[in-house]
């Protein structure tokens, strides 16, 4: 790998795709935390599937949160390029991040009621965790329930037309659909309640090893700015949501009610264990061909 | 009581854009005749056949064939540009019998008796676009003669035929005369026309009004050579040329 000289005062580019998962970056940008660190930051909007591509081809220096399958999958194909930092997820003490939506008049109120029912997941990562959860309560997840993937755009139609009995989705869809049609949320944050608490869904952001080697200082500054953001989220839930409205397509009636993910700037040992079990479950579910150790990826 | 006309045209008018081809044209022909139509290029002969065939609609006026409307009869027709009217996706023989097959689901095999073996072979094996012009025209004539009850329309049907095949075609047409069938023959060859027709209508440039020559051409000669050298024919020839030049 070639070493390029450090260029000072250069613009730091951060890729995002206008989702709440990039909130810490939006807040740092909005509240001037990047500026305070003397960073000149540009937020670059890209397609959600292009985040890692733009990062590894050098078009940007950082990306916002990307879920484990992509990060780990890329690491397996091309080891030692990506560098995750921070973590994002859900916790029992935090907001509602995911849940099952059922029709308001549905008799389903708890996990046990799902026996014999069909559930659509708008996110393939949901299915392996759901299987583990159902196992915990004594179901055979391959027999007692039908779990299927479905595109985000049609889960509401599927629920309304009775094609499925429930849909499992995450924020902000959870709030949006609940807002739009008469539904109730069942078993919010099942992963923290039945698996591990907190349940870490993804890193907070990514950069590359190459970039760190040449720009360690900048990376530190970015991390500092994001730490400020996390504190802000903790202390200013209302303003956080106003900023979310500004940076995403979401309208205020949604952001006001929506749950915000739990973030942590540096994982500890317990977190690594929890994260690793998630990755392992992805392997078990055959979403990933094989796993990788997350600690080496995070280690500096 | 129905009238006895094979063909009756009343007050027919037809124009293209600003060019009037027929203007209040009237004609009545007894049943069962062969009628020759003779006239200069562009005087409306093909248009007349298209009107009889129901391919074009008159702007005004009435056409009756055996007292029926054009839409009620199913004419046989040889078009002036015959090669465009054979269907290239069917063998020539299928083309010849297609109209009959569609309309009556029969096949008048006896028609083939008039063909030589080599002609039969040709029509059986080749698609129309593989035939020579004259071969295409002969097959078009055959097609028009099969299965048609009231009306056969022949637009310059011998233009590509050699002497022998032309005679063959003449025989075919004469054999297919019937008491209630009108045959309309357009040709620039006056001898052919006189030879085949009972009557020749001579037209003279557009628009066609009610002034036209209506020549009786029934005769008693044994063959075409006799006819050619007869004063009967030279009379008709003179009358026709004079009328057209007038």
């Amino acid at each position: 790998k070639s070493f390029k000289p450090v260029v000072s005062q250069k613009t730091i580019k951060i890729a995002h795709f206008r989702e709440t998962s990039a909130l810490p970056f939006y807040i740092a940008n909005e509240k001037g935390y990047f500026k305070a660190e003397n960073l000149n930051v540009e937020l670059v909007e890209v397609d959600s599937k292009q985040l890692i591509d733009t990062l590894v081809t050098g078009k940007v220096d950082f990306t916002s949160a990307i879920a484990w399958p992509s990060v780990v999958g890329f690491e397996i194909e091309h080891p030692e390029i990506l560098k995750p930092f921070g973590i994002m997820g859900e916790s029992n003490s935090g907001d509602t991040i995911d849940g099952f939506l059922v029709k308001e008049d549905s008799k389903i109120n708890k996990l046990e009621d799902f026996k014999g029912k069909t559930i659509a997941f708008d996110n393939p990562r949901g299915i392996p965790s759901a299987k583990m959860v159902f196992k915990k309560i004594g179901f055979d997840p391959d027999k007692d329930v039908v779990l299927m993937d479905m595109g985000k755009d049609i889960i509401a139609s599927a629920l309304l037309s009775g094609k499925v009995d429930a849909v499992w989705t995450t924020q902000p869809s959870l709030t949006i659909i609940a807002n739009k049609i008469k539904t109730k949320i069942v078993e919010p944050n099942m992963r923290t309640r039945y698996l591990t608490d907190p349940y870490w869904i993804s890193p907070m952001g990514l950069t590359t090893n190459n970039f760190i080697l040449q720009n360690r200082e900048i990376v530190n500054k970015v991390e500092n700015a994001l730490k400020e953001s996390l504190a802000f989220i903790q202390n200013n839930p209302v303003e956080t949501r106003i900023i979310a409205t500004k940076y995403t397509p979401l309208t205020s009636d949604i952001t006001e009610k929506m749950g915000v993910q739990t973030y942590k700037s540096t994982p500890d040992n317990q977190d690594y264990l929890s994260m690793q079990s998630i990755v392992d479950s992805l392997v078990e579910a055959q979403i990933l061909k094989k796993g990788t150790g997350l600690i080496p990826m995070y280690a500096k | 009581m129905p009238n006895e006309f094979g063909l009756e045209i009343i007050n027919l008018s037809k124009s293209f854009d600003n060019h009037t081809v027929f203007d209040d044209f009237n004609l009545a022909i007894p049943k069962g005749e062969i009628i020759g139509i003779y006239g200069p290029n562009g005087c409306g002969k093909s248009t007349f056949l298209h009107l009889l065939a129901g391919i074009q609609e008159p702007d005004k006026g009435t056409i009756r064939i055996n007292n029926k409307k054009p839409k009620e009869i199913k004419p046989g027709i040889v078009f002036q540009n015959y090669s465009d009217h054979l269907l290239p996706w069917k063998k020539t023989m299928e083309n010849i019998f297609l109209q009959e097959k569609i309309q009556k689901n029969t096949r008048s095999e006896e028609m083939l008796d008039h063909l030589s073996d080599s002609q039969k072979n040709l029509f059986q094996n080749l698609y129309p676009y593989e035939l020579s012009g004259g071969q295409q025209q002969l097959s078009s004539i055959l097609r028009s003669l099969i299965n048609t009850d009231d009306l056969i329309l022949l637009d310059e049907p011998f233009s590509s035929l050699d002497q022998n095949i032309k005679n063959q075609a003449h025989d075919l047409i004469l054999k297919n005369r019937q008491n209630d069938r009108t045959i309309v023959l357009v040709t620039h060859d006056l001898l052919d026309s006189v030879y085949l027709s009972d009557r020749i209508i001579v037209l003279k440039g557009t628009p066609v009004h009610n002034k036209y020559l209506n020549l009786n051409t029934k005769y008693n000669f044994k063959d075409k050579i006799d006819l050619l050298h007869s004063s009967f024919f030279s009379d008709i020839y003179k009358q026709t040329m004079e009328y057209i030049a007038s």
Partner: protein, 248 residues
Amino acid sequence: MKRSKILYAIGPIAILAGWYFFAYYPTNFNILIPKPVQVMLSFKNFPQILMKSTIATLYTWSTGTLLGIILGILIGFICGYYQNLFKIIEIPLDFFRSIPSITLLPIVALFLGSGLTAKFFIVTFVTFLYVFIHTTYGIKYSRTSKQNLALAWRLNPWQNFREIIFYSSLPSIFAGIRTAITLGLIATISSEMTILGTAGLGKKIIDNMVIYNTTEMYEIIIIIGLIGYATNKLIVILENNVIHWKGH
């Protein structure tokens, strides 16, 4: 003949050469391009890994497309003949034709659910549209001389269709079919990406995209491309055999 085979080889060879080049030449993106050899080797596992998905895709696609083609020809003929009917459906067709199916999907899903029915509906609809348009074009531009024959013979609409219009329109219909089978394949795979369905190559694409398994992604791209190419080739061969009267 030998020379012409060489010509056919130039295109694929050029693409392969380009692929090799970009997979090995040190650009900033060459790591995102899998090595050709790897992809070729991955075909070894085709029976276990992709066979089922390929069959699922082929099934949806062929059934939906076939139905769409038949409907396109039939309704195209009816509309070509009954201009009034055409007028009734013309505006809705030209309207919905332009809207990306991904946009219509949520609406379709409301009525047809989000299962196989919706998938078939979309594939059939797409293929129908293009065969339909090209059938009406074939009819619109079929030769006056042949239609004069139909008029003189007093053919009824069905006879006219069966004996004349159908054949006259065949070149145009075949052009429509070639467009339609390709778009049908695209519609199949796109709807497998979003609509529910256990298997299908579209689903595999999404799965592999998510985990950056570019090797299998490229394998799937090659499979789809080969399916598309082979079908097109078959149609052309069929076409050349059927339309022996080309140009006449």
